[in-house]
């Protein structure tokens, strides 16, 4: 072996070792700072982790764009929804008077809230855009109670990291990290454009997360579960979306 090739070998070895160690340190730091999404495994894991980590690093205090009243769309499309089940139809027949949302998991005061109770809390409005991953969008005024208020009432425990939310449709659930859950624009929305939220648009209660795409804004919310571990839900990927092939983080 010549001197040159030996030097090259040592150089390459040191570079590789540094690279692997660096990657290890970066992974550790990323985990500590909550930069790893639940669907970080598999062939798309690198892209997803880069997307979510940049989101966490860039947008901690950013607000989704808000619009003037004149910019509200005249065609707030109610996208296709899965066939509504009997439980929903029964509640609908009663004018949603018996609609309840359960809050459980890492909270001091688990319990149930009626729509009336949610509406009795200070209401907020935002004129923001709902954009679908397919490409279409509309601007609407959303009215509801900030999720942070409901979580405060229930008393979230310090170790909580995620809020998992469930639709009345058992196949439809999702989750957001605590920074999104406590974000001032994250609502449990019950009103749209000055009226009640229509069933097509997710009424009587829809999660509104305006810094993420439409599919993160789950319709017909009946349960919130506060947790520190998404592996306990479904297949452990954080929501029904990755189980159907879609990314958990929907900010792009």
């Amino acid at each position: 072996m010549t001197d040159l090739s030996r030097r090259k070998l040592i150089k390459t070895g040191v570079a590789a070792a540094t690279g692997i160690a660096g990657l290890g340190v970066a992974t550790g730091l990323a985990k500590n700072y909550g930069l790893i999404p639940p669907d970080c495994g598999g062939i798309w894991g690198i892209g997803e982790t880069l997307n979510y980590a940049s989101y966490r690093l860039l947008t901690n205090h950013s607000m989704a764009r808000e619009f003037a009243r004149s910019e509200i769309s005249t065609t707030p499309l109610a996208n296709e929804i899965p066939p509504l089940n009997d439980a929903f139809k029964k509640l609908q027949a009663g004018g949603f008077a018996d609609w309840r949302i359960t809050v459980d998991g890492m909270v001091d005061r688990p319990g149930m809230f009626s729509l009336e109770q949610l509406k009795s809390y200070p209401s907020r409005s935002q004129i923001t855009q709902l954009a679908c991953e397919e490409g279409w969008s509309y601007v609407a005024e959303w009215t509801g109670v900030p999720l942070s208020h409901v979580l405060e009432v229930a008393g979230i425990q310090p170790q909580a990291k995620y809020v998992v939310y469930f639709s009345i449709d058992p196949d439809w659930w999702d989750s957001i990290d605590m920074r999104d859950a406590l974000h001032p624009q994250t609502y449990l929305a019950y009103g749209m454009n000055g009226g009640d939220l229509s069933v097509g648009n997710g009424g009587p209660l829809r999660m509104r997360v305006p810094r993420q795409l439409g599919y993160k804004n789950v319709k017909f919310i009946t349960r919130l579960a506060v947790t520190d571990d998404l592996r306990k839900f479904g297949k452990g990927l954080g929501s029904a979306s990755p189980e159907g092939g879609y990314a958990w983080f929907a900010g792009v």
């Binding site: 305006p210 990314a247 792009v252």
Partner: protein
Amino acid sequence: MAEMRSVPEELMPGLAPLSRSTARPSRHSALVRTTHWIIALSFLALLVSGIEILISHPRFYWGENGNVLTPALFKLPIPSSRSLVPTGYGYVLPDENGWSRYLHFQSAWLAVLTGLVYVAAGVVSGHFRKDLLPSAEEVSWRALGRTIASHLRFERPSAAEAWSYNLLQRLSYLFVIFALFPLVIWTGLAMSPAFTSAFPASVDLLGGRQSARTLHFFVAMSLLLFLLVHVAMVWFAGFRSRMRAMITGRIDQLEDA
């Protein structure tokens, strides 16, 4: 290569030109070759996944709002993967958006990070200055007209041209690197509600989310047009030698002469 160079020319006159040519530096540096192929690969992935995503809503709008209830700026006459989109076709294509979106963003990261390495290295090594930026006296309407005319006559490039870029080539490469790629990244990011929450000007300057989407489509189509012309030109100039130059960095002078 080193042995060839050590042979004194006067001893082997017949081989002198060849030995000089093999001693030449690579046609394309290893960095240019590597980044070229990584970006080529990721661009193809972006193109395929982008078309798949587009199929779920082959309609375009301007401004902030746009959906099937809104009049379209224009529509593509293709079937869709969503039943809500009125296409005139009696069938709905399967939904491929899940993997397409994953692939689109993963390839975008690969293309952008590789592009940054290429641009940084290009500035440091003088690649842009030496190989791509035409000198002031080279740029004139007459010179440009001459290059275009020779292209239109399908003239095969001379052997010397294998070692450098002509004016039209330089200008198109610079346009692709410093205009189309930045634009396609910008218009893409302007569609992200997360990105625009941190940088609202990125979408406001374009006139809204739907404008950004429409522009993203046109810039992507311009890049596709570039790709098609680029491959056609490689074909005309000599597919094998140009491919070898971009893969190994070497040019066989005998073949090109």
